[in-house]
Symmetry: C2
DNA sequence: GGTTGTGAACAAATTCACAGCG
DNA sequence: CGCTGTGAATTTGTTCACAACC
């Protein structure tokens, strides 16, 4: 009834939308036309009330007594997430992790083509990885301008992280995915998300010693079906 | 005053403790003996009230008018997180990402030595990566028993994820770090944390189109100092 | 004076439970 | 009858603000 598209979507909901999106893609691939909040919840590993609340922020796209139209919801959600266009990314730091990310096909498949590779180490500049040649950090402004890059993926050592983040921001990047084990400060209007492998393992370590399973990220369920309560 | 060590630590706090831990390590390396909540907050990219609240769940380890003793807090926090011992991990799936993780030194450095590599593809079994030889999924029970592995890192395709998770659980693994773009169900008492690169980029995409920077993960700050308000 | 530790106030997120609609 | 959409209740997390203490 209310125009939800004008409502601000809660952060916790935004973080779950991509998970629903993937489930919807799987359903569409399986030629399933409609889905209930119950079923979608099971696939996404959350509960049905949460699915309904989350989807209600996008609009009233369900049909009572029936469920949600998979294709329609897929479209609305893609639009809401800004995924109707590609967002080219630049990867900074071509060590182990950076190279793996450069070769990872998942980025391309999901609308984030790797447009350029950059490294601060002059010895690595010029190296070819896949179809791309590694460029210097000084090329970032040109990369952003010419290739339309808006997202930077940082796979540098912690010591270089802040300098690289500054360089990305100066070049005009508005979103950063940071794999370096360091907190980086960025100006207002730039988004950073941090993926820290050691931090994740340390959180698991906490829950491992006590036998208290958490509910966020650490999910509990019965062996195969019946994923969450 | 109250014995906080018996209190249940909130999940949100647990997720931040490893970040504080890393800051404390940096401070200790710099031979800094004490730190205020203000300074620690700046380093961790949160606010001081949160730091104090979080640390208060560990106990009253600060000194009013002075701050926290770095070494002492480091020890208490390591103990609380269960990091006074190593937790050997097995990596399942030695594709691009799995190999990068296998070569990543951060795991070893932070107490999570990579003890074994496993792949479902018979063609990959026997391959050497660094000092380790890739073994079959059938070896998981032996790996868990003989090497004391308690953590599984999954870097498999989505299609194999649930089967691999089941195999890990059957072998006795209690904690799983899942890089596969799929939700996996596990029994009560097993913890899973998910790292999904595409999901992170899609969340950034949402905040990129609107110019509304989020506060969790996407942090806003002035250029270098003054990280968060 | 400076800084912690913490109740109390506030805000965000989750879950309940059921009216409303197909 | 079945399932969504959503107010209300509840739980969890954050921030304030200040007494207690060094």
């Amino acid at each position: 009834m209310v125009d939800r598209t004008s409502r601000r979507i809660p952060e916790a909901t935004v973080a779950r939308l991509p998970v629903y999106l993937r489930c919807l893609v799987d359903l569409a691939d399986a030629r399933i036309a409609t889905v209930s909040s119950e079923r979608l919840a099971e696939m996404a590993g959350v509960n049905a009330a949460k699915v309904r609340k989350d989807l209600s922020y996008l609009g009233s796209y369900g049909t009572r007594g029936v469920g949600y139209d998979v294709e329609f919801l897929l479209f609305q959600m893609s639009r809401e997430l800004g995924l109707t266009q590609d967002w080219p990314v630049v990867i900074v730091g071509v060590g182990n992790l950076g190279q793996a990310l450069a070769n990872y096909q998942g980025f391309n498949e999901r609308g984030f083509p790797v447009a350029a590779l950059v490294d601060a180490d002059p010895a690595k500049v010029g190296e070819r990885i896949g179809t791309l040649t590694v460029r210097g950090v000084g090329d970032l402004p040109a990369i952003v301008d010419e290739l339309g890059v808006t997202v930077g993926v940082m796979a540098t050592p912690a010591s270089a992280a802040q300098d690289v983040a500054d360089a990305l921001v100066r070049a005009g990047v508005r979103s950063i995915l940071n794999f370096a084990p360091a907190v980086v400060a960025v100006p207002e209007g730039v988004s950073v998300r941090k993926v820290d492998l050691a931090v994740e393992l340390q959180i698991l370590s906490f829950y491992q010693q006590r036998r208290v399973p958490g509910t966020d990220g650490s999910r509990s369920a019965l062996p195969v079906s019946d994923p969450v309560h």
